[in-house]
């Protein structure tokens, strides 16, 4: 079994009003050093090990997990730790 961690973010240049609101909130709390905030998604998948695993995860991202029109993604694959 593999743990796949997927990080999805809005593309640069795509307006992120949620991130903007968070940045302004941090600024209003006195954290003036925060100049930008971007909101994304974090997914954990447990995937059975098999051939072309990385390629298959990439297709999963393109088909469903991310929308390539507005989002970028990256993912890490790690050996699942047996509990």
């Amino acid at each position: 079994m593999r743990n796949v961690t997927v990080y999805i973010t809005l593309k640069q240049g795509v307006l992120d009003p949620q991130g903007k609101a968070i940045q302004e909130s941090l600024n209003s709390l006195g954290y003036d050093e925060v100049k930008d905030a971007r909101v994304g998604k974090y997914l954990e998948l447990q995937v059975e090990d098999g051939p072309n695993l990385e390629e298959r995860v990439k297709v999963m991202c393109d088909k469903l997990l991310a929308n390539p029109v507005i989002e970028d993604y990256r993912f890490d694959v790690e050996e699942a730790v047996r509990s």
């Binding site: 949620q18 088909k63 029109v69």
Partner: protein
């Protein structure tokens, strides 16, 4: 003309859509549950508004993977009319039947009110009963109606006259004020405003009636000359 109104878990404008075509326009219509559907017998497909699958992941994303949407893709490939309103528009973009994406409204809030909508292309099977440039009033009701596409896609939309409806006063930050677009082939329309909620003047506007009349008339002219 026989319409299918596709119902997903979380659809909530399905009965408004059904009411518009069945009771106001007097055509045949059925509510079709997404699971056990066979769209072969229907002439027009209507994807209603709502929150299919609770908008999980992204609005429309999960519904776009359903087998009924595969059938909608086949139906569209035959040139038959497909109309997606609000969440239906989101499903159509997620399914790749229309370009671009619908994002959170620029000001983050859910908006629900009447908007002035400009008919930018009255040469589609959905809009022939409107005048070019006519301003109509449709309700909007969405939190994620901010249409986005890259510049190349926008240039293509303009070149091919695919921008069918625009907002007079852009409420949500959409690129080029876009409220509704059509596919290149001209038979799949997606729009955020709700024409099916504008079919009786008693309820504020009947400007949506002409949209459904356009579909029905154009379909009859193309497929069903005998019954005219």
């Amino acid at each position: 003309m026989k319409f299918a109104v596709i119902v997903f878990p979380g659809s909530n404008c399905d009965r408004d859509m059904y009411h518009a075509v069945k009771e106001v326009l007097g055509e045949e219509a059925e509510l079709v549950w997404y699971e056990n559907s066979n769209l072969a017998d229907y002439d027009g497909i209507l994807l209603p508004g709502g929150f299919s699958y609770g908008d999980y992941l992204r609005s429309g994303a999960v519904a776009a993977t359903s087998t009924v949407i595969q059938q909608v893709v086949e139906h569209a490939a035959k040139g038959k009319p497909v109309l997606g309103v609000c969440n239906g528009f989101q499903v159509l973009t997620e399914a790749g039947l229309l370009p671009g994406a619908l994002m959170r409204n620029e000001k983050l809030s859910f908006m629900c009110h009447q908007e002035d909508i400009v008919v930018d292309n009255n040469q589609t099977m959905f809009t022939t009963n409107y005048l070019q440039g006519e301003v109509v009033r449709f309700p909007i009701a969405h939190g994620e109606g901010n249409y986005f596409c890259d510049e190349e896609t926008l240039a293509n939309l303009k070149t091919n006259n695919q921008i069918v409806f625009t907002y007079k006063d852009n409420p949500n930050g959409s690129v080029a004020n876009i409220a509704g677009i059509i596919n290149k082939e001209g038979n799949v329309l997606g729009m955020m405003p709700h024409p099916e909620r504008a079919v009786e003047s008693l309820l504020g506007s009947d400007d949506g009636v002409k949209l459904f009349q356009s579909i029905i008339q154009n379909w009859r002219e193309a497929y069903d000359v005998a019954s005219v």
